[in-house]
């Protein structure tokens, strides 16, 4: 940078700031400061003869951002609205600095509640999904509300105002939602939307014998090689799992549901990178029985399956969610009382090995319970139950942390992504954002 002496003076709307070129260099070339002090720009001493740089911006925010450059930490005084700070950071090209100073790499045991957002949508939430760079989207009935990492709301998404069954981020800029078909109109199905503008970019079709069919799309999943999977229910019993190419948008495969099994109603799909298989789980109470299976699309085979058909029905043994854990070759399931159970994927006909955790919840169920949900993130297992989320770690899945925010009632869904955890409450229309604090610059 072409500064002769190390000290730099700024006049920000009348307030004088003096700092060093080293501090300013922390902003990087790709910022206003980086460009301003580049050799190309021959900085002229102004009328008073001093090298003082006038900037016509909010000086309080400038002070916060200058401190961020100085010490690498973000301290926002309560009198500055966060949104204003973001605007100013965007002007200077320092938004990335703010973003990484706000929260650090995700760790389930070091989460703190950062914010709770109240939405304006009516009715119960269906699903919440964390985006790759810190944003999220929330499905309510037929609407999906999209928030960026600054938790600013973008235009909502809807597919013909049909009930949304599942929603998934294709990348940081686009979202796929699956919706019920609209009887007699051939609408519904699945669509790809821009996350920032909410416009429909592409609609996925299901074809059988070269005829486009109307269908209801359920659970969604992506594979590592850009394939999109969805459970599908067609009008004339074309039940199964559809596969689309994410790049071309064309349907490339369809796995028909075998008799006596359930695929088209699946609650959860999960792609397993290590084995190139898709986990499909249909769970109580969508069906009377639970069906969990692994599908290999290369030879259209069901390589692993488990069901509780024929098992004695007690509510304690009802599987409410299932998730595959490739590192340990097992599937984790959870029942209504948040008991965890495990099945070994290496044996074809496994049975659930329930862990003997105490049933703390038993006997004090809230009035309006939500079914437990599971999530896995970098070796940590998360399970939601009523108004709290439990974190399990280690080879024996020991309970290590519990996240609870009593406002809003039971948690109906939660999601981890972009180094954040989002949990959606069912009683009030509110969702929480949990973050890990960034590591202090000096350790």
């Amino acid at each position: 940078m072409g500064i002769q002496k190390d000290s730099v003076r700024f006049n920000v709307s009348g307030r004088i700031f003096e700092t060093t070129a080293t501090t300013i260099a922390n902003a990087g070339r790709n910022s206003l400061f980086g460009a301003m002090f580049d050799d190309n720009w021959d900085l002229q001493p102004n009328a008073t003869g001093t090298t003082e740089h006038f900037i016509d911006r909010n000086s309080d925010c400038f002070a916060v951002l200058l401190d961020l450059l100085r010490i690498g930490e973000l301290h926002v005084p309560p009198n500055i609205p966060e949104k204003l700070l973001y605007r100013e950071a965007l002007f200077y090209g320092l938004l990335d600095h703010v973003r990484s100073a706000k929260w650090g790499p995700f760790d389930g045991n070091k989460l703190h509640l950062s914010q709770s957002i109240t939405g304006r949508a009516p009715g119960d939430g269906t699903a919440i999904r964390a985006g790759p760079d810190g944003g999220c989207c929330v499905a309510h009935g037929s609407m999906v509300h999209v928030y960026d990492w600054m938790l600013e709301e973008h235009p909502p998404i809807t597919l013909d105002y049909q009930r949304v069954n599942d929603v998934i981020w294709a990348d940081s800029k686009s979202i796929v939602i699956s919706a019920c078909e609209r009887l007699g109109r051939g609408e519904g199905g699945m669509g790809l939307f821009s996350a920032s503008t909410g416009e429909l970019r592409y609609k996925f079709h299901v074809t059988h014998e070269n005829q486009v069919k109307s269908y209801t799309a359920g659970a969604l999943s992506f594979s590592s090689d850009y394939k999109l999977f969805s459970s599908c229910k067609g009008r004339s019993n074309e039940y199964g799992i559809g596969v689309w190419d994410q790049v071309t948008g064309k349907q490339i495969d369809f796995f028909y549901e075998p008799p006596g099994w359930s695929l088209g109603d699946a609650d959860r799909l999960q792609w397993l990178h290590g084995t190139n298989c898709l986990l499909v789980a249909t769970l109580f109470p969508r069906k009377d029985n639970c069906y969990v299976s692994l599908l290999d699309f290369r030879d259209k085979s069901m390589v692993w399956s488990w069901s509780d058909i024929g098992a004695p029905i007690t509510d304690e043994r009802r599987v409410r969610d299932a998730i595959a854990m490739e590192d340990t070759n097992s599937i984790c399931v959870v029942n209504e009382y948040e008991d965890l159970g495990f099945m070994d994927l290496r044996f074809a006909a496994g049975s659930v090995r329930w862990s003997s955790r105490s049933r703390l919840m038993k006997g004090k169920m809230p009035d309006e319970p939500c079914y437990p949900k599971l999530a896995l993130h970098e070796g940590q297992l998360f399970s939601s139950m009523n108004d709290s989320i439990s974190v399990f770690c280690g080879p024996d899945w020991v309970l290590t942390s519990r996240l609870r925010n009593s406002y809003g009632g039971s948690i109906c869904d939660f999601s981890i992504g972009g180094d954040r955890l989002f949990s959606l409450h069912s009683e009030e229309n509110v969702f929480d954002i949990w973050e890990t604090q960034p590591p202090p610059p000096i350790m």
């Binding site: 790709n30 910022s31 206003l32 460009a35 301003m36 580049d38 190309n40 720009w41 021959d42 900085l43 002229q44 102004n46 009328a47 740089h53 006038f54 900037i55 016509d56 965007l90 002007f91 090209g93 920032s196 503008t197």
Partner: protein, 732 residues
């Protein structure tokens, strides 16, 4: 004070933000457009960055992003059109310089424009899916300058012309070339490929096709390879100086194909300078160059390897079948070793120790060594020679390396058992006549054979060593026990050999003189007394003796064989004996007797006997006299036996037969082993398995195997299957 004035204007606009001045966008854009002009005209020092940045920011904020962007595109395009004209106008060599100059300026301007429009680049462009400013600037340069038809072909031609100049030896401005190609690369790999790389490769193909044709007509192989290598290095250097790294593989493959692959057959087979002459003349550097060049093209090394193999096979075949060479086995083997050393050196120095070449060398040797059935015998003779005399001039380590090399030849042999037969004979002779030069060397060779062929192969050889050692101890015991009694008689040294460990020789005993017989009986009594249940047989054909004799007044010592001793002892009492008389008295087999007499009477300087008539050959009616006129300077006279070092034809036949005889039980054992585990097997499979099991020792003849199977059927080890006659069954 223009700065203050502008600020006023800005602040005013800011106040009216709610009701945007209809001319606001137009005014702001004019300011920015002016700045872009100034930047392109190198007049940027008067511009205020902060103000321009703020203006661009405000335009985007007030939804005039589209206007800003399209304004940028049209302003930049018009500047680039101007630039295109000035580049086009540049004369001759100034063209490239002008192009580079403008490119540098454009890059700088682009950077500054991007700085001003940074906010648009970050917010407006991603949300509207437009091309970012920097990329836009490159694309506009590509479309308006590089793809401008009056520049495009001129640029391509200029670049290719410069390369051509450099290839023909001129010095060009490499810096300019590098900047230009780098510009094309910056505009995207596709631009580089289409505007330079593709035509460059096409021109190169033509250039090298013509050049290689000229070279091949006028140069010999070594020269041609030197030139090809030089060209290849030049191209690699060219890439490193001013082309994209990815072009290296492409241009080298052009040179490889045109200069090497297209001509490789002709090069290898070139008369008087091709591969074979290089090998013969040991041109390591040329060979190495050929190797490294041919390595680059598919099948290149295969051609070298094939030609080398057939060369080794031919010359090797000539070597082993040359009747002249068969006369001297030691030299024969030495030639083989030298040949192998030479080729090894070539592979080591020129062919990078390539495994496939070593394999080719080994298989060729294996091929031609076995063309001569006497190779095993000769190798054993060579070892014999070295172990007898070797240490005189060679040091210990040299013997080791020599033995290692011999083992190499041994590995090539198919009939390893024949070698074993001969080796046993030669070793026996060395041990009994105490001619071994070094015990360590002997043992080390045994160890090598053992690691090569296993315990079974050397157990008997080791037994021979043990026998010699125990004999030594036995003699010490014997002398301690009865030494006093026989002190007056002749001194006796006995080596007790285990039957079976040693090469069996037809034990043709002779009548020992009574003096000796007495001592021998004493030893027999001693030995059988200490070892019960054994039998001693005298191998008189293998012993030696030292005699004291008086010729006139001269006292001499004669070192002779046992047979010769028996003959000479007869002359203690008489002066003249006829052949018949000697034969009767000694009962030595006539062939041996004749040989002994020959060496006693016919060798000049060692003729202790005189023969009537004087002739070379011994007839039945010859008479022999004690030659008291025998004189010699030496005190001790060693009288050798006339023995052919090399085996004579009948002996050879005999050894052969013995080998064949020994093979029979081995083949049978192999058949039984195989059948025991397989129970039922057809003929062809048995033959295959037997061959596989025995090939470390020899290659069994299928006819012999068939005979052995028949013999085993006769002896009811096997039977033929009743339904399928081709199948054999094992009978437990």
């Amino acid at each position: 004070m223009s700065g203050a004035k502008k600020r006023n204007f800005q602040i005013e606009a800011f106040k009216h933000r709610v009701v945007v001045d209809p001319k606001y966008a137009e005014k702001t854009w004019k300011i920015l457009e002016h700045a872009i002009h100034e930047i392109y005209n190198h007049n940027a020092s008067g511009l205020s960055f902060e103000e321009l940045y703020r203006n661009a920011y405000n335009m985007v904020l007030h939804k005039f992003g589209e206007k800003l962007y399209s304004g940028l595109v049209s302003t930049m395009t018009s500047h680039l059109e101007e630039i295109a004209k000035s580049i086009e106008a540049a004369q001759g060599s100034m063209f490239l310089e002008e192009l580079n100059q403008k490119w540098t300026e454009h890059n700088k301007a682009l950077q500054m424009i991007r700085d001003i429009l940074m906010y648009m680049d970050r917010t407006f462009i991603p949300s509207t899916h437009k091309t970012p400013v920097h990329e836009l600037g490159l694309n506009l340069w590509r479309d308006n300058i590089i793809h401008y038809n009056k520049i495009q072909t001129r640029l391509k031609d200029t670049l290719l012309e410069l390369v051509q100049h450099e290839r023909t030896g001129d010095v060009i401005n490499r810096g300019l070339m590098r900047n230009t190609t780098k510009m094309l690369m910056d505009l995207g790999p596709k631009v580089y490929e289409e505007n330079f790389e593709k035509p460059f490769l096409e021109v190169s193909v033509d250039f090298y096709r013509v050049e290689s044709q000229q070279y091949i007509e006028h140069c010999d192989c070594a020269d041609y390879l030197k030139k090809a290598e030089k060209r290849l290095n030049e191209e690699i250097e060219r890439v490193s100086h001013y082309l994209d790294v990815k072009s290296e593989a492409k241009i080298t493959s052009v040179v490889e194909k045109e200069m090497i692959e297209c001509h490789m057959q002709r090069l290898v087979h070139m008369e008087n300078s091709g591969l074979i002459s290089m090998i013969v003349d040991e041109k390591f550097v040329d060979l190495g160059r050929m190797y490294s060049l041919f390595l680059r093209v598919p099948n290149g090394l295969t051609i070298i390897k094939d030609v080398m193999t057939s060369h080794i096979r031919e010359t090797g075949k000539d070597l082993v079948t040359d009747p002249e060479r068969l006369k001297d086995p030691v030299n024969f083997v030495q030639e083989l070793l030298d040949k192998r050393d030479r080729l090894d050196k070539i592979i080591h120095l020129a062919f990078n120790n390539d495994k496939t070449f070593q394999n080719a060398l080994n298989s060729s040797f294996e091929y031609f060594i076995n063309l001569n059935p006497r190779s095993p015998e000769f190798i054993s003779l060579f070892v014999d020679d070295k172990l007898r005399n070797g240490l005189k001039k060679d040091k210990e380590e040299d013997i080791e390396t020599l033995l290692d090399k011999v083992m190499m030849l041994f590995r090539y042999l198919q009939e390893k058992d024949v070698f074993e037969k001969y080796y046993k004979q030669h070793l026996a002779k060395r041990l009994l006549s105490q001619k071994t030069a070094s015990d360590d060397a002997e043992r080390s060779l045994i160890v090598k054979l053992k690691t090569e062929c296993g315990y079974q192969f050397t157990s008997k050889l080791e037994g021979m060593f043990t026998d010699i050692k125990t004999s030594h101890d036995t003699m010490q015991g014997f002398n301690a026990a009865v030494g006093a009694e026989i002190a007056d008689g002749p001194a006796l040294s006995v080596q007790v050999l285990t039957t079976g460990s040693w090469p069996t020789q037809s034990s043709s005993t002779c009548n020992l003189p009574p003096e000796i017989l007495g001592v021998c009986d004493k030893f027999r009594a001693f030995y059988l007394g200490t070892h019960t249940g054994r039998r001693l047989t005298w191998q008189t054909n293998m012993g030696t003796a030292v005699l004291s004799a008086k010729f006139g007044n001269a006292q001499k010592e004669l070192s002779v064989s046992t047979y010769q001793m028996c003959i000479l002892m007869l002359f203690n009492n008489v002066n003249c004996l006829s052949y018949k008389e000697i034969e009767q008295a000694t009962e030595i087999p006539s062939s041996d007797l004749k040989r002994c007499l020959q060496s006693l009477a016919c060798v000049k300087g060692k003729n202790v006997l005189r023969k009537e008539p004087m002739s070379k050959d011994i007839a039945d009616d010859d008479a022999f006299f004690f030659n008291d006129k025998f004189t010699t300077k030496l005190y001790r006279v060693k009288i050798g036996t006339v023995v052919a070092q090399k085996e004579s034809e009948p002996e050879k036949q005999e050894t052969r037969q013995r080998v064949e005889e020994d093979r029979k039980p081995q083949i049978e054992a192999a058949i039984v082993r195989i059948m025991k585990s397989r129970r039922v097997l057809d003929h062809n499979n048995i033959v295959a398995e037997v061959t596989k099991q025995l090939q470390s020792r020899f290659l069994p003849n299928p006819v012999v195997i068939k005979k052995r199977i028949e013999s085993l059927i006769e002896r009811e080890f096997l039977e033929r299957d009743k339904t399928d006659r081709k199948l054999y069954r094992y009978l437990a």
